[in-house]
């Protein structure tokens, strides 16, 4: 009883039972306090709060609009870029196509040139060979003629006329060549 109650003695009142009826002074002061608080909140705090909320709403609205604008702009840019990209791609395709056809053309050109050249080389070679053959035949013919004349002269010991001799040999060779 002693120690515990010393603490309480300071705040101890006169009434020993729990008071169920409101104390008049406390009631009045409580009403005053509540009224003051309500007045302050209603007249000062809440208008300020609402003003701030309006500002915040405007700010958020502004940001949203801004964001929407930026988004539209970005969308536009993206569209442009895509278009450019598509153009560039088709252009590149064109270029490649062109290059391909050029290459084909050049290749054909080259092939035909080469063929022509080969043809002409073959032609020339044939002509050369032909000419050579003609020359050789001519040479052979004259040598054969000379040799035959010489040979025949030696065999028959008779001197034939150079002119007759030659025509004889020519006949022989002509016959020879017409045979092969």
């Amino acid at each position: 009883m002693t120690t515990s109650l010393v603490i309480l003695a300071a705040e101890g009142g006169s009434d020993e039972s729990l008071q169920l009826l409101p104390d008049t002074a406390e009631l009045i002061w409580g009403i005053v306090g509540f009224a003051l608080l309500f007045a302050l909140l209603w007249r000062v705090a809440f208008p300020s709060l609402n003003q701030m909320l309006d500002q915040r709403q405007q700010a958020i609205q502004g940001r949203l609009t801004e964001a929407e604008e930026i988004r539209t702009e970005a969308e536009e840019l993206r569209r442009q870029y895509q278009e450019q990209l598509r153009d560039a791609r088709s252009r590149a395709d064109e270029i490649v196509e062109e290059a391909k056809s050029d290459a084909e053309r050049i290749r054909e050109q080259k092939v035909s040139d080469a063929e022509q050249e080969a043809q002409s080389i073959r032609e020339r070679a044939r002509e050369d060979a032909e000419a050579e053959r003609g020359r050789l035949v001519q040479q052979l013919r004259s040598q054969v003629a000379a040799l035959s004349v010489d040979l025949a002269g030696r065999i028959v010991h008779a001197e034939l006329d150079e002119q007759q001799h030659r025509s004889l040999v020519d006949d022989y060779i002509d016959r020879l060549s017409s045979m092969n």
Partner: protein, 260 residues
């Protein structure tokens, strides 16, 4: 009421003082100002200071204090007013916020160090607040529906008429008498009980912890119980403020749209 605990058997001298000594204070100053009045005004001042400081220079991007105050207001608006009354109840947000802050801060005095006395455990504040709540919802009922409000209360629709013999008195009494009565009693009794609980725990710790075995066991237990009780009372203090406001909102809603 003097509750004598079994401490004597263990050689202790633990006795609860008469309960009135826990709650009744002499007025030490003129105008009936006693400890309760001073504490009430201090709690009011603290609540007012919180809101004034938070909103006097309200910024779009809130600081910490503003965020706290904003979340309180938002809680009242979203969780209580919009959910229970609806959009037409938005004009009651300042009143309900004031009620909430006033009750909450006065309740929190219970666990404030060096104060430890909830001013709502005196009948004056619960009585006034319940009377205010009653006046608001009855006034609203009569203003919106005239004398039809009485009829709405006394004769709820959708009941066969013989039931009214039983129902009408019950409805009238429960609406106009029991509602404010229970509002006041609920807040008052919760805070009285909390204060007594904390007093018992603290006094028992004080008395028993000085003893030798086996009395000291009780002291240790109550020492552990102390912080737990404080935490529990923090919860109760907040819950009672919430319940008082939410019931007021329910009553206002009933007065505005009696068909529900």
């Amino acid at each position: 009421m003097t509750a004598l605990l079994a401490a004597v058997e263990y050689g202790g001298d633990f006795t609860l003082p008469p309960v009135g000594e826990l709650f009744n204070f002499e007025s030490a100053l003129p105008l009936g100002i006693n400890r309760t009045v001073v504490l009430t005004l201090l709690a009011t001042l603290a609540a007012a200071a919180l809101f004034l400081v938070a909103f006097s220079n309200a910024k779009v991007v809130p600081g910490k204090l503003q965020l706290v105050a904003e979340s309180i207001v938002e809680f009242i608006r979203e969780q209580i007013v919009l959910q229970i009354i609806g959009v037409d109840g938005l004009k009651f947000v300042p009143l309900l916020t004031t009620m909430f802050m006033f009750i909450w801060f006065n309740n929190l005095l219970e666990i404030t160090p060096f104060v430890n006395f909830p001013t709502t455990s005196r009948m004056a504040l619960p009585f006034f607040l319940a009377l205010l709540s009653w006046a608001v919802f009855v006034g609203l009922g009569f203003r919106h529906h005239g004398l039809g409000y009485l009829k709405d209360v006394a004769f709820p629709p959708g009941v066969p008429w013989p039931i009214y013999v039983l129902l009408t008195p019950i409805e009238l009494v429960s609406t106009f008498v029991l509602r404010p009565f229970t509002l006041a009693i609920r807040l008052f009794a919760n805070m009285v009980a909390g204060h007594i609980l904390l007093t018992i725990v603290f006094l028992a710790t004080h008395a028993f912890l000085a003893l030798k075995f086996p009395g000291i066991i009780v002291g240790v237990l109550t020492l552990i119980a102390g912080p737990l009780a404080v935490g529990f009372e923090l919860f109760i203090a907040s819950l009672q403020a919430y319940i008082f406001v939410i019931l007021t909102a329910v009553y206002i809603s009933g007065a505005l749209h009696p068909e529900h």
